[in-house]
């Protein structure tokens, strides 16, 4: 059963990857990469059970966090002319 879930995960990863490659444009890629990130969290969790050492789920927690940081960073840094201050705006870069 767990192996079947793993296969489903890998299939979904490949599908999201194709979307990330095809684009078109920035947003489709961000969306695909964000989805892919969730799949990697699940990958770590399922792999722990599949190979019999489920106590190492800490890594999954980290992936969930880091995935969010990456999405926020992409949105933040591709959107502002003066990327770091957040006080003065501009059109999308």
């Amino acid at each position: 059963m767990i192996f079947a879930v793993m296969v489903a995960l890998l299939v979904t990863m490949v599908l999201a990857l194709v979307r990330a490659f095809m684009g078109p444009g920035l947003y489709n890629r961000i969306l695909a990469i964000n989805t892919f990130g969730t799949k990697t969290v699940l990958f770590v969790a399922v792999a722990g059970f599949l190979f019999g050492r489920p106590e190492f789920l800490d890594i999954g927690i980290l992936y969930a966090l880091v995935n969010f940081v990456a999405t926020v960073a992409v949105l933040r840094l591709t959107h502002l002319q003066d990327p770091w201050s957040g006080t003065e705006g501009g059109e999308a870069g």
């Binding site: 190979f51 019999g52 050492r53 190492f56």
Partner: protein, 134 residues
């Protein structure tokens, strides 16, 4: 041969893709991304050498007999952090080059240096003036 070595060959392929980007692409930032690809190839190669069939993570616990080797993991663990620190140095250099030349394309930077040499300007002064004007 294929069944036992394909993993190494994929790691080598990653290194070579990175190497190609570093040498052939002119954009300095693209070169740095290529450098990280190359790095990851090397990291995976090290970790791959320490992996053992049916092994488990080298954290000793009851009921687990076979472990992968911890030493390559230690080396790569520190190498990753050092890698991002050196990447930051490279990026800082790229920012400075952009501020001096107004471009991060290697060809354009070299061309501008050549033009400065031909007109007899000191390269540094010329670069400073150019960035002031742009």
């Amino acid at each position: 041969m294929i069944a036992s070595h394909y993993v190494y060959w994929t790691f080598f392929a990653l290194m070579l893709i990175g190497l190609y980007v570093v040498i052939s692409h002119g954009n300095l930032l693209k070169k740095l991304i290529g450098l990280t690809l190359f790095q990851v190839g090397v990291f995976l190669f090290y970790i791959g050498l320490g992996k053992r069939d049916g092994g488990s993570a080298p954290i000793i616990s009851d009921g687990v007999e076979v472990y992968s080797h911890p030493l390559p993991q230690v080396l790569i663990l520190t190498a990753i952090v050092v890698g991002v620190a050196t990447l930051a140095v490279g990026l800082a250099l790229a920012v400075r080059i952009f501020e001096a030349y107004g471009t991060v394309e290697e060809d354009e930077v070299v061309e501008r240096d050549r033009a400065d040499l031909a007109t007899g300007h000191d390269g540094h002064q010329a670069a400073g003036r150019d960035s002031g004007g742009s």
